[in-house]
């Protein structure tokens, strides 16, 4: 990859492949990159390590790349790992978990309470409706009874009710009775 002299932009740029901006000099052989990373990591057995060393001895770009990579290890080692959590971290996490659980239980209780409230409202409404119906029914019943006992209706009963002592014997007698009643 050719070396370029593009200036490095200072900050907050979009992540992208910078390989064109950062000259890499001569690249290592592609098929040896993973092996060299393992070599650097001390992850190779003796035979594999010997293979890597032999290649590096005979390949200048790979030798340069391995030297650069080794220097990067020193650079990172100097910085060391991030600071770890404080001694109370686990306790804090558990306290947060307990709080979340309580909140969850509170939410569940809230749903149940609203259901109970709704139930009570429904029961109260049903009771009121029932009371109104009973009251109305009782009042209407009395009113109806009063109307049935009125002289006009009793008279109408006389008109239509047959005389139980002398029931009509035929259809003609019924017509005669009706005509008499009408005449009266």
């Amino acid at each position: 990859m050719p070396k370029t002299n593009l200036p490095l932009r200072p900050r907050r740029r979009k992540a992208r492949d910078m390989s064109t901006e950062i000259g890499l000099g001569k690249n290592a052989c592609a098929q040896y990159e993973a092996l060299l990373e393992d070599y650097l990591d001390g992850a190779l057995d003796t035979t594999e390590a010997r293979t890597a060393e032999l290649h590096v001895q005979n390949c200048e770009p790979c030798r340069a790349a391995l030297q650069q990579a080794s220097a990067s290890v020193r650079l990172f080692r100097a910085a060391g790992p991030s600071e770890g959590p404080g001694p109370a971290f686990a306790r804090t996490v558990m306290a947060r978990i307990y709080a979340a659980e309580r909140e969850g239980a509170g939410d569940r209780a809230g749903i149940w309470q609203s259901l109970v409230k709704l139930g009570w409202r429904f029961a109260a409404t049903a009771t009121v409706v029932l009371a109104v119906l009973v009251t109305y029914d009782a009042g209407w019943g009395r009113h109806l009874q009063r109307n049935l006992n009125s002289p006009r209706l009793m008279h109408m009963n006389d008109i239509f009710a047959p005389d139980p002592a002398n029931p009509p014997a035929s259809r003609d007698e019924v017509l005669m009775m009706e005509a008499e009643n009408h005449g009266n």
Binding site: P10, R11, I22, L24, N27, A69, R74, L75, G80, P85
Partner: protein, 219 residues
């Protein structure tokens, strides 16, 4: 969830770490909060490192790390243990970090990538030295210089290098956490090393040039 810390009696001595984790996960799934607390203690350092490695903002790391464990607790009953608990947890951590960055609409912290001549000299001393600098101040300074250099790298290179070299994650772990092929991780790491050292070499070259120019002016 009635199990107390004292009720947790695990035969931990004769089992591998992963087996112990499996047992602790099983107990946690049955409601033993003490078992989950033990899982927190075992993995808090790595989760902190992972979150710190991605966010690079000390003030946010603790909060996000707590959120990671809270999510793990809430989801542990659904965890089928086909993968290691650590892998599952680290994936939650990576997702949580990206969610956090997206919600806050910030990118991981980057510094100015330019270094002063004095800083380049100090960096040169660090790279050339056989032993890492000792003491918290020296480490903090090295970290700051490194962060400035890392700013010139693509995000993925930066994360891989930080997690591997500073936070101690293995290639295998990185492949699992970041859903990459192991070989891809190795190749990317090796190339990223080359890139960061190229950034360093450019800084040194620039410093040498400016020093030579200053000497010429004086002469």
């Amino acid at each position: 969830m009635a199990a107390s810390a004292t009720a947790l009696t695990l035969p931990l001595d004769h089992k591998g770490k992963k087996e112990e984790d499996r047992e602790l996960v099983r107990l946690s799934q049955n409601g033993a909060e003490a078992a989950f607390e033990e899982l927190v203690r075992r993995h808090q350092q790595r989760v902190f490192s992972l979150v710190g490695g991605i966010l690079r903002r000390a003030e946010d790391v603790e909060d996000v790390a707590q959120q990671v464990f809270l999510k793990a607790f809430l989801g542990i009953r659904r965890f089928d243990q086909r993968a290691a608990f650590s892998t599952w947890l680290y994936k939650i951590a990576v997702n949580e970090c990206w969610d956090y960055l997206r919600k806050k609409k910030v990118r991981p912290l980057v510094y100015e990538s330019d270094l002063s001549d004095e800083q380049v000299s100090r960096l040169d001393g660090i790279v050339s030295a056989d032993r890492p600098p000792e003491g918290p101040n020296a480490r903090a300074e090295a970290r700051e210089l490194l962060d400035r250099m890392l700013a010139a790298l693509p995000e993925q290179d930066k994360q891989l290098l930080i997690l591997k070299e500073m936070e101690g994650f293995s290639v295998q772990e990185l492949a699992e956490i970041l859903d990459l092929n192991v070989n891809t991780v190795k190749v990317r790491l090796f190339r990223a090393r080359g890139r960061i050292m190229e950034v360093y070499r450019r800084r040194v070259d620039a410093q040498n040039k400016s020093a030579a120019a200053a000497a010429q002016k004086k002469g």
